[in-house]
């Protein structure tokens, strides 16, 4: 009789000690030095932009909320680690235009957190997604966002280099306002990076000008990319990244290719191979695998220096893919 209680007590104590040991090993790192100015970004494209704007400034740290492997954040759920990071943040840099569906949660929990919406002043395309399937989150309470209450916008604005420049501008300006002692450095960095993006834009022009084609795309993000290059997207079949290919969607793509006599299909890497197989059985349509730039390049090192140029490198690679397809 007594043994039983003793046994239970020992069991629970041993378990507690074991679990405590796990938490020690489990990569628990305590925040940051207090005097640092912490900029937290919502996901990869704005992270890269913020890295460039804050480059080389002492005492300013940029951290990305989502894990790099998360990709698009439409349906992202905040983790406990994210909440800890946000609690320490001085500024929360978001993409905006409805990309961060969890934003209402964040602002409700941390009403004092400065939210830097980079989409201010960008040219937004309307979302083609239906209402249950939108970035602004159709489910009741999280749908209320400043300015975009009723309309749903295509949130992949960074894919348009003109919009991306506006985002950089916004980050530069507002960080300068919040952290005024580094205002000039933010300004200079932003100008530097803007010049690089401008250069990229020029490259795009010389490479692809006058070669406008009609394409079918499988991701809303490419609409901005096409808009930027002056190409015409005949049809977008929006496939959600994380779900498997649906037969109905493949059929839609095939129909669009057939009806429009279209020879180019823009798609993402995860669909590239299978869609190519499916389509080339019947049509002579080229699939061009493009990157939506929401993930760090696979060969990049994890240090921030390597990630700073991820956007520029990713875009150049996209141009190269299109050029290759055109010249084939």
């Amino acid at each position: 009789m007594k043994n039983k209680y003793l046994f239970t007590a020992v069991l629970l104590i041993v378990l507690t000690a074991f679990l405590a040991a796990i938490t020690r090993v489990g990569g628990w790192q305590e925040g940051r030095k207090k005097e640092e100015f912490l900029v937290v970004t919502s996901f990869y494209p704005v992270y890269v932009a913020a890295l460039n704007v804050t480059d080389g400034i002492e005492g300013v740290q940029v951290r990305c909320l989502t894990q790099p492997k998360t990709g698009c954040v439409h349906d992202y759920q905040l983790t406990t680690q994210d909440m800890r990071l946000l609690e320490q943040a001085d500024v929360f840099v978001i993409n905006g235009a409805g990309m961060e569906t969890y934003l209402a949660d964040v602002t409700a929990r941390y009403p004092d957190l400065y939210v830097l919406d980079t989409s201010k002043g960008t040219v937004l395309l309307e979302s083609m997604e239906d209402h249950d399937h939108d970035h602004a989150g159709g489910s009741g309470d999280d749908a209320h966002r400043e300015g975009v209450q009723d309309k749903h916008y295509n949130a992949h604005i960074w894919m348009d280099m003109a919009n991306y420049s506006v985002q950089i501008e916004n980050i530069g300006n507002e960080l300068g306002t919040v952290d005024s002692k580094h205002r000039k450095q933010y300004r200079d960095n932003a100008d530097n990076y803007l010049a690089k993006v401008q250069e990229l834009q020029e490259e795009c022009r010389t490479l692809l000008d006058g070669k406008n084609k009609s394409v079918v795309s499988t991701h809303e993000a490419f609409l901005y990319f096409a808009q930027n290059m002056g190409w015409d997207v005949a049809k977008t079949v929006n496939m959600d990244e994380n779900t498997a290919l649906h037969a109905a969607q493949v059929n839609e793509v095939l129909e669009a290719v057939q009806q429009g006599q279209i020879y180019y299909l823009w798609t993402e890497e995860i669909y590239g191979e299978r869609l190519t197989q499916l389509i080339q059985q019947e049509y002579s349509c080229k699939t061009v695998v493009l990157d939506t730039l929401v993930l760090p390049p696979q060969d990049s090192k994890t240090d921030q220096a390597g990630e700073k140029d991820a956007y520029l490198a990713g875009m150049r690679n996209n141009f190269e893919q299109i050029r290759k397809a055109l010249s084939e």
């Binding site: 046994f7 489990g26 959600d240």
Partner: protein, 278 residues
């Protein structure tokens, strides 16, 4: 709420307790796990493990109904649906004892399928994947109030009805002859289970909610010899798994529900080994 937070801050001045969302989760687990441990004793006793599993899974349908009809308070829809579903299942079980588990399986599969169909209708089920494994961050004060309400209800029911429920579980006819309204007691019990399971789902997740009803109780059964011990160990194991699971998952950034269940399972295996040795 503020006063409770103040007390928590004073009593438990740990790093993980600083955050409001962890306070919410802590309170939810503190209320939820003893309840599940307590209800579980009867569920295991009456061999209703499959019943409660079906009930947990059917929550998906409740969510789908809430989402499709755009009801603002999805919690309420889930609870109402679960209660109706529980009463329906209970009716089946009382009527046709022979093939009850087959029929329960049909109803629960149908409910899961219809729920998944409705939720995936718009092409992305991802949004709801949090429901499958639970999400501690989604717990708000409302859920805690619901849980507190359920806690009080369950205590009242236990004090007034537990003996009757136990009698009904052991021998229906004898219980009836003693003037116990078996059907009423059983119906009240399944309604209670439905309500508590539904509220707990947000934290633990649809896939694992049943584990918390069953595993701590099964562990307790390994070592308890009477009803009092049975309850005591069940509630103790449940509470321990819940608390340690919550804290560990916070530090190693894992989903809370699965963490709790893993710890509960470890306890089960150790107590099982102990019971063999004894």
């Amino acid at each position: 709420m503020e006063t409770i937070y103040g007390i928590l801050d004073r009593l438990l001045p740990f790093a993980w307790m600083q955050h409001t969302f962890m306070k919410h989760a802590f309170l939810a687990v503190l209320l939820m796990t003893p309840l599940l441990g307590m209800l579980g004793t009867v569920i295991v006793q009456k061999k209703m493990a499959f019943f409660s599993d079906a009930l947990g899974h059917s929550a998906i349908m409740g969510i789908a109904i809430g989402v499709v009809f755009g009801v603002a308070n999805v919690n309420a829809v889930m609870i109402v649906f679960a209660v109706l579903f529980a009463l329906l299942l209970n009716k089946i079980e009382q009527k046709r004892a022979e093939s009850a588990d087959t029929i329960i399986s049909v109803f629960s599969s149908c409910s899961i399928a219809a729920g998944l169909m409705l939720l995936s209708g718009s092409g992305n089920f991802n949004k709801y994947s949090g429901l499958l494994v639970g999400d501690v961050l989604s717990i708000t004060e409302i859920e805690i109030l619901y849980l507190a309400g359920a806690f009080v209800l369950a205590l009242v029911f236990w004090v007034l009805g537990f003996n009757r429920l136990l009698a009904a579980g052991m021998h229906r006819v004898l219980a009836k002859s003693r003037g116990i309204s078996v059907k009423l007691v059983e119906s009240l019990f399944v309604v209670l289970v439905a309500v508590i399971v539904t509220i707990s789902i947000k934290c633990i997740g649809v896939l694992l909610i049943n584990a918390l009803l069953i595993i701590p109780v099964a562990s307790a059964k390994n070592i308890a010899v009477n009803m009092r011990e049975y309850h005591f160990f069940s509630i103790l194991f449940s509470l321990f798994s819940g608390m340690s699971g919550l804290i560990v998952s916070y530090y190693i950034n894992a989903a809370t529900g699965p963490m709790i269940v893993v710890i509960a399972s470890v306890i089960y295996f150790v107590t099982f080994a102990y019971s063999r040795v004894e």
